[in-house]
């Protein structure tokens, strides 16, 4: 039974339909294996221990698309889950039990998927390594001395280690795609608005987007069919709900009609590590051999994307995190006056990285500086959008490496915040332009004798997500990629 945990959701659904697999047995086995593997990985913060016999009958409307249903999944601990601890990786929300489900969670629950637990993350999704979690960092299944990426560190590690079939994450500047690249799995960030943000703890409301980790693009498409729905509880949700992402992902691509853009700055060995670049060039060669037209594109704003991103997100986080004051959320204080109470709760509850970003946000929004920093960053964001709109008149898809480097060791970048921020060099422009991006594993690079995964990022124009998933799925077939877990996970699955 355990060896089935390596399979994709698409394969397991086929086994359900053929009557070859029992849902309850799968759920129980998955739960026990996840707990066993987690002794080394620390991918989970909380477990939903309720594994009970239930009716698996689903009411399907005629013609409804194939969805992710009746499967065990994990969710980043930033989605509110009724009655299950939701901490956002912070001491300030320790023991918080939300009274409601996030819309994504409600949709997955409605389709009888079983939430096994909540996964580890950088505190309030602020980080690129998982190291800023108040609950200790999650570890990369490919090498326990290396970071799994962030901020959705636990979700990426859990899917890579076969602890869950799929996992939900959030992506504000690359927090799904970068950890997916570091853990060698598929990570999809939909266009802004395509998945409801209701019940997702906010960091930067204009950039935050829920998305999916999986061991294949078909599972991403199945999950999108379940969670991408119109939601009256999120006014920024523009999902139409009648797109069948799974059916789209099965359609062939006429490679000789596809135009793929590569951004010149991300072909520069001064910015991108040699092993990452070598694998990226090999992926482009696969596309060229299939007949794809490769177009080289300039992106002169590339070096300004990160500063603009950190100004906008810091400004929004200083506002969003003002609510954590020990009154409505967080532990309470014994201080007699209100202001001292706020300061005590916030000073003890937030970690160093969160404090730094709140203070940076307060600084760039303060009188006299807002014009110099915040307004300028917003204007630059508009320029980046325009620049991408121009690019998408010339190409259908943009391809880049997902991360400029291989996964790094714990502690290697924590002394210099800017060095850490550079991990998002290739991903933040996607969030600033509200477009969609997906990481596809494209090989391994060797660092100090350790083989570590690399990733290829495909980016589409906003709301062309169905086309992006189709190209990604067909590229998987073209390149012959299929997920194989790390050796120690395979041994654990085999019972050795």
């Amino acid at each position: 039974m355990r060896e089935l945990l390596e399979r994709t959701g698409e394969e397991l659904l086929a086994m359900f339909d053929a009557g070859e697999l029992n849902h309850n047995e799968l759920q129980q086995e998955q739960f026990e294996f996840a707990q066993e593997a987690d002794k080394k990985l620390n991918a989970f913060i909380a477990w939903d221990e309720v594994v009970e016999e239930q009716s698996w009958a689903l009411e399907r409307l005629e013609g409804s698309p194939k969805c992710l249903e009746r499967l065990p999944y994990a969710a980043k601990d930033i989605f509110c889950t009724q009655g299950v601890q939701t901490t956002a990786g912070s001491r300030i929300l320790k023991d918080y039990l939300p009274p409601y489900d996030a819309t994504c969670i409600a949709a997955l629950r409605q389709a009888k998927n079983h939430l096994m637990g909540k996964t580890n993350l950088d505190e309030f999704a602020m980080g690129s390594s998982g190291e800023s979690s108040a609950f200790g960092p999650a570890r990369n299944p490919w090498s326990l001395e290396h970071v799994p990426g962030g901020s959705s560190s636990g979700s990426a590690a859990a899917v890579a280690a076969c602890q869950a079939v799929v996992a939900l994450g959030t992506d504000t500047g690359g927090s799904i795609r970068q950890p997916a690249s570091f853990c060698g799995i598929v990570g999809f960030k939909p266009s802004y608005g395509l998945v409801s943000r209701y019940g997702m703890i906010a960091y930067s409301s204009s950039c935050d987007q829920a998305g999916v980790f999986a061991r294949g693009t078909a599972d991403v498409a199945l999950t999108m069919n379940t969670i991408s729905r119109p939601d009256p509880l999120d006014s920024t949700c523009t999902a139409v709900g009648n797109i069948d992402y799974y059916a789209e992902a099965q359609r062939d691509v006429h490679w000789n009609k596809l135009r793929v853009g590569v951004l010149k700055p991300f072909m520069d060995p001064g910015r991108i590590d040699a092993s990452v670049l070598a694998n990226f060039n090999a992926s482009i060669d696969v596309l060229k051999a299939a007949g794809v037209a490769i177009v080289e594109l300039d992106f002169p704003l590339v070096d300004l994307c990160l500063p603009a991103y950190y100004i906008i997100t810091a400004a929004e986080c200083s506002s969003n995190l003002a609510r954590y004051d020990g009154i409505r959320y967080g532990s309470s204080s014994s201080e007699p006056d209100l202001l001292s109470s706020y300061r005590e709760v916030r000073s003890q509850g937030f970690g160093a990285e969160v404090k730094r970003r709140i203070l940076l946000g307060t600084y760039v929004l303060s009188a006299g500086y807002a014009g110099a920093y915040y307004d300028r960053a917003r204007a630059l964001r508009a320029d980046i959008r325009r620049s991408l709109e121009d690019m998408f008149t010339q190409v259908d898809i943009i391809a880049t490496p997902t991360s400029p480097t291989l996964p790094f060791r714990f502690g290697e970048r924590s002394t210099d915040p800017v060095k850490m921020y550079l991990a998002d060099l290739c991903t933040v422009f996607v969030n600033l332009a509200d477009t969609a991006g997906i990481n596809l594993p494209n090989g391994f690079g060797v660092s100090e004798g350790v083989a570590l995964p690399t990733g290829l990022q495909f980016v589409s124009a906003p709301m062309r997500d169905a086309m992006l998933l189709r190209v990604a799925r067909q590229y998987e077939k073209l390149s012959g990629w299929q997920y194989k877990p790390p050796a120690w996970i395979s041994q654990l699955l085999a019972g050795n």
């Binding site: 009256p232 709140i358 110099a372 204007a379 508009a382 915040p417």
Partner: protein
């Protein structure tokens, strides 16, 4: 950044830093400011500022803009408000 400036920021954000945290914070924060200062050299094509942008877009696309003045909205007399929150999410969009 001067110590007093940091203290003022902390007061605005309702956060206290210990003496150790303060030194580390000042060093890392200055590094962050140098990083975001790169932006100051950039001249944008335009600045988004609400209505001005809409007018510019309308001008470019030869759209007609409304010229009437806005009036505050008033509910019709006798309107009763129902503010209870529905507990069931209706995915069809008509909750």
């Amino acid at each position: 950044m001067e110590k007093n400036d940091v203290l003022q920021l902390c007061a605005l954000a309702r956060i206290d830093l210990t003496a150790d945290e303060h030194d580390e914070f000042a060093r890392k924060f200055n590094r962050l400011l140098d990083f975001v200062d790169q932006l100051l050299a950039h001249k944008s094509e335009d600045r988004p500022s609400g209505a001005q942008l809409v007018e510019r877009q309308a001008e470019a696309e030869s759209l007609q803009l409304r010229r009437d003045e806005s009036r505050p909205f008033a509910w019709p007399e006798g309107t009763k408000h129902e503010y209870s929150v529905r507990q069931i999410i209706n995915f069809e969009g008509d909750a």
